[in-house]
Symmetry: C2
Subunit: 204 residues, 2 copies
Amino acid sequence: DWQFHRHVRARQNICTAGDQLNLVFIMCEGWAFRFVQLSDGRRQVLSIVLPGDVFTATAPFKAKRRSSVQAITDVRFCGYSRGRLKENLIADPDVFSAWTDILVDETSEANHLLVDLGCRSAEERIAHLILSLRRRMKQRGMAVDAFIPFPLRQRLIAEITGLTPEHVNRFMRSFREAGLIETGKKSVTILNRAEFRRIGELRA
Amino acid sequence: DWQFHRHVRARQNICTAGDQLNLVFIMCEGWAFRFVQLSDGRRQVLSIVLPGDVFTATAPFKAKRRSSVQAITDVRFCGYSRGRLKENLIADPDVFSAWTDILVDETSEANHLLVDLGCRSAEERIAHLILSLRRRMKQRGMAVDAFIPFPLRQRLIAEITGLTPEHVNRFMRSFREAGLIETGKKSVTILNRAEFRRIGELRA
DNA sequence: CGCAGATTTGACAGCCATCAAGGTACGTGG
DNA sequence: CCACGTACCTTGATGGCTGTCAAATCTGCG
């Protein structure tokens, strides 16, 4: 059939670089991340996939995946076949417009991350990551004010920001000790929003 | 009219972040770069635009530019209006497919750069930049073997790789002293391809 | 309980940034 | 043709941010 649901457990790959994939996915529940795996074991995380996000959006037009997607938590997502989506893209201007929006957003997020990695310090990158995830969750109605569900391991934060896990740890501690944030079981609470934003918010 | 040519001199902006822009451009002659300008004067270069490249490809669907484009050399490019392009995208499957290829390539290049900035050392980033520009020029029939037209200033290399101009200079020198490359007036020649690729080629 | 993985912490090293100074190339105007 | 200024390239000294290595503690889970 042209549409289906699937479950994947935490730490399992949803799709892998090198695969031929004719499916577009929408995350329904849970978090995942898209990444590139290098031969020496290092990884670069390209983006975090939140519920409501479309991923592998380019699959209808370039089946060969150049990045992998792995579940952070247990996830549930919906898959659409390539052929059906392409038909809809041509036939329905609304679908077409929605799909282009997705591609544009994806490149926009990638550009933000590029600025982070190229221009900003470790402290700024980490704070910015937390704030940008908060913003995205708020857009989806998932974040209530200061408290943020946050299932990312420090290793993953390191692989997004291009730092080492130890260094991420040091700054998370310094944020806590400065009274900027509080960390709980898979959650973060922003205590001093003004100051935290001063550090992490990108002023173009 | 829906199509036109334009000339811009070196160091002039072709378009600027914040602008509303309903045009898609194709570079006909010369080099340019797409970048984000931060308020403190730092810049992050997102991509280099070579002859034959389409840029501001997302303009038909999100007019507001989030990055600027500036000419490196004197350039000549062609502009297409938003409305006309959107019509063609819907009407002509070949145009549609070409356009999606462009978006896919653009995100792919952005991802490569993310891996560079997140995972790799200064030496590796600089070598990789030169090699990737060589590859792109060869695809366009512009690079003859080892000799590469190369109008990038060291400051620009620094702004792509997230380094300082001084540091770029040190590694360019070390490449020269190791007999890996030769630099001329706005050109680079790769003398020891095997070794240079060992440093700069990304082994996923 | 025992194990594997994650977090935390410290000591130390190294890569890269910063600052400073001088040299070089190129365009401009006299 | 030459003087001159600006931007770029080059080089050195120094410092700091971040990585590496190591070990202890904590956590979740079987």
